[in-house]
Symmetry: C2
Amino acid sequence: MASEQHNAQRRTPVTIHDVARDAGVSVGTVSKALNDRGQLRPDTRARVRATAAILGFLPNELAQSLHRKRSFTVGIITSDRFGRFSIPLLEGIEDALDPARIAVFLCKPTDDLELERRHVDSLLAKRVDGIIVTSRRTDPRRPLDLGGASLPVVYAYAQSEDPAAACLLPDDEGGGALAGAHFARLGRRRIAHITGPERFAAVRERRVGLARALADAGLVLDDQLVLSGSWSEEWGREAAERLLDIGRPFDAIFCGSDQIARGVADTLRDRGVHVPEDLAIVGYDNWEIVAAATRPPLTTIDPCLDELGRLAATRLLGMIDANDGQRAAATRVPCRLVVRASCGGGAE
Amino acid sequence: MASEQHNAQRRTPVTIHDVARDAGVSVGTVSKALNDRGQLRPDTRARVRATAAILGFLPNELAQSLHRKRSFTVGIITSDRFGRFSIPLLEGIEDALDPARIAVFLCKPTDDLELERRHVDSLLAKRVDGIIVTSRRTDPRRPLDLGGASLPVVYAYAQSEDPAAACLLPDDEGGGALAGAHFARLGRRRIAHITGPERFAAVRERRVGLARALADAGLVLDDQLVLSGSWSEEWGREAAERLLDIGRPFDAIFCGSDQIARGVADTLRDRGVHVPEDLAIVGYDNWEIVAAATRPPLTTIDPCLDELGRLAATRLLGMIDANDGQRAAATRVPCRLVVRASCGGGAE
DNA sequence: AGCGCAACGGAAAAGCTTTTCCGTACGAGC
DNA sequence: GCTCGTACGGAAAAGCTTTTCCGTTGCGCT
């Protein structure tokens, strides 16, 4: 007698047939009642609904999707490990997808193309309605190999070598310009730039933007004051030392990341240089946890990755609904200047 | 004539029927050929396989799942925003699920119970095989409301009020003990503790562990040297100041997070206190990017969240396969001491 | 040459929902 | 009172795969 409840057998979910039986109608009628279609007497509709509620009926979306030829799911593939960039991106994506009642398959990050291929196959087999590709670098990558299938694909914080692909990218040049203009506005004249590896497109673009904004203000970017290294705090410290030691005057530093800026700020502090009085600093990323904890808190460029994610998802939804091919183009999402204390003059 | 290719019509995926037609066999035969079942002549099998490959046939998993009553997907629900903790957890989970060919539905984080309910319904409707609940706090939370359904659920870095639930938690007490033992081994006698808000279970447990390890070494934890505050770098700086000012001697500080430790280290540096010579520091979290950039790099406790994620996923797989109810219990996953430079004596 | 068995492959049902197409029954109008 | 129209709800097909159950073919043996 104990054996019945001993094995907490998993209950099989209630189906539309169960509801039909209990409500004394046919399954078709249940479907109509629940989906507000067909011609049903109000009381029939109500009765069916009540029965469904009592039974806790949840339509099997597998069956629904099979029928509708639309799964209401999308896949996210990332060619790099989860990280600081993926998070706000993911948030933005989910933000836009949630109201559309679309669920997200997350694929384990990999930059192995063979593995990526397998992930794509797996998503295809699940009949996702679309795929979002994200990365940690904005440099062009090989287009996603759909292996003959045709399906909307959006690259978010990633770029495909295929010029016709839908890509959403942060406006790195604009970000650089934002920093340059901010310095100029505050009366800084000689701007240094400590940034990441030259091979990153973002590094080159931000520098271009910075130079452009300075030029617009009648200033020039001194190549001697541009130092490319890695993305680390360590590099920020080292580069700051170097900058101080070459003895060329400068009154502001634009940093390629908040981490670099953090390193820079620490070194300046050690060396008795006052920020922002002697030197203004602008960081990049608006990585709250770093930017806010730095002394002084960092004025920085926010690439608005959450917004980028939202836009990417919205774009994907558009492509799914339109059922048209990838009429597309790369789009740059504007950055935002976040003013804290590291440049002084918070008042815009 | 242009209109045919004008609208890049989405191709409808190739089905098993297409393969059957092209291979000149029935759909049943195709299924058998592809799945290695039934009695088929080797050449038939090969021919079908070749046809399938040419056509790029990918079985519709929706239909498969419908039939098998098993979707090979699991849902992840998190009651807190994506963050530093979710990332390694997710990595671990995917690590364990990927080889089992199980895909993950990621739900937008929320701590709104009503919204959570909706997410669960959505997962249930998708007939996920199980659910993993994660959080950012290890304090007990209300059990996930499955609304009558029965389905394996595992709590990872989260705890259910239901004592029978399967919970995987970091061994915070053990983590505290690890720090205490490390200090004792290095000959430190008077240990301070700067930690997060008292209301966190983790804070209380780590403290207990610390005290226990000290007691084991014949030392006592001086309550005057225990400071609870927030999890921020700012608090680390402030608490370090206070500690230095009260004038009670101490030769080591156990910090509740690497961020706190970072703040502490910065303040000590400002005040001319040498680490590790004058004072040893142990952090918590092994948040690489912070711990490694601190001067000196932080010796810290790694809660091994990736391992925890792996274990959680493995546990869930077990529950799914076993088809038994939640025969479960809370499990503590051991932490790991990561030695860098902030305590000196790297040699174990 | 005929019988039986093994090997092979086809037909059909099941899994669950939606939707189209019909049939029935009722009310209204003549 | 009869017919037509409409409102309601049922039956069945479609969507795609797997699996069970059978039927057929061909071979070997006598």
